[in-house]
């Protein structure tokens, strides 16, 4: 029974532990389990092993997740894209309530542009390629809106956003890359 529990726990742990740490970590656990089995009882050692298994899983999963670079880059880019959307909505709301004109006006775009540069700049500080992903999100978003959107957005606004959005993302990325100092991952 004990051997079967250990085999299952080892098998599960081997699935969780990142590859470079797998062999040494499982070896460390086996070595200490043997030491504890000799020093106390086998059941106490097994309890210790299972406690170790449960407590080790979350930090090891986190290590594994952070090693998948594209997951964190996409997550940062997605957050930046949401931030851009919130800023755009707020600026459109402010400019339309101030001038009592249509929600889509050049003033709103002029204000939004540097803010997008700033947001992408910060995103690129966290993940080097986040700016490129944000720019791609913007291109895909505007294209999807143009093809399938039901809202009557002026054509000039769509065309301007098609170029201005990715351009702002590009400038934000370049600003970060041209700064000396520690490189983002």
């Amino acid at each position: 029974m004990r051997d079967r529990i250990l085999r299952v726990a080892n098998w599960l742990l081997a699935r969780i532990v990142p590859e470079p740490e797998r062999e040494p970590l499982l070896g460390d656990l086996t070595e200490e389990l043997e030491l504890r089995s000799r020093a106390s009882s086998a059941s106490a050692a097994l309890k210790w092993y299972l406690r170790q298994f449960c407590a080790s899983a979350p930090p090891l999963l986190w290590v594994r997740l952070t090693r998948i670079a594209w997951v964190s880059t996409t997550a940062v880019a997605l957050l930046a894209y949401i931030a851009v959307g919130v800023v755009e909505l707020a600026v459109n709301w402010l400019t339309s309530s101030a001038s009592a004109s249509a929600p889509y006006n050049p003033l709103g775009m002029l204000i939004t542009f540097p803010m997008v540069v700033l947001i992408v700049h910060f995103a690129t500080r966290l993940r080097r390629n986040a700016g490129i992903v944000v720019g791609t999100f913007m291109l895909v978003g505007v294209t999807a809106m143009t093809l399938w959107g039901t809202e009557s957005v002026p054509l000039w606004y769509r065309i301007a956003y098609f170029f201005a959005g990715p351009a702002a993302a590009f400038i934000g990325s370049v600003l970060r890359w041209s700064r000396p100092g520690r490189e983002a991952r």
């Binding site: 740490e21 062999e23 499982l26 070896g27 460390d28 070595e31």
Partner: protein
């Protein structure tokens, strides 16, 4: 002082354990050293996650040892501190000493 030069509390403890153990610093011994010194129950997963982070920061380096029978034929991974790691330890220690200096009711033996 750059942010990367200072250590988090677990990083600090793990790096000190690696330094204390010297040539015998590998996952199990580091975990046991921390448990003995701090009476803190720490998981091997947390130790490895911290060692991986320290290695990515350039504060420790690792090398594989030979596989042994008592480990089920698995090799050890030995860790040792780098010059940058020792400098980070000094920086963190100085910060702690400065912050705790002159505090009433806090005495170090």
């Amino acid at each position: 002082m750059k942010r990367e030069d200072t250590l988090g509390s677990l990083e600090h403890i793990v790096l000190l354990a690696v330094l204390r153990l010297g040539a015998d610093a590998y996952g199990m011994t580091v975990r046991r050293e921390i448990e003995t010194a701090t009476r803190r129950d720490i998981s091997i997963g947390a130790v490895y996650a911290t060692l991986v982070r320290l290695e990515s920061k350039g504060f420790v380096r690792s090398q594989a040892g030979a596989p042994t029978a008592e480990r089920g034929g698995r090799a050890k991974r030995y860790f040792h501190t780098t010059a940058a790691g020792q400098s980070a330890l000094r920086t963190t220690h100085e910060a702690i000493v400065k912050l705790s200096g002159g505090l009433k009711g806090l005495r170090y033996t």
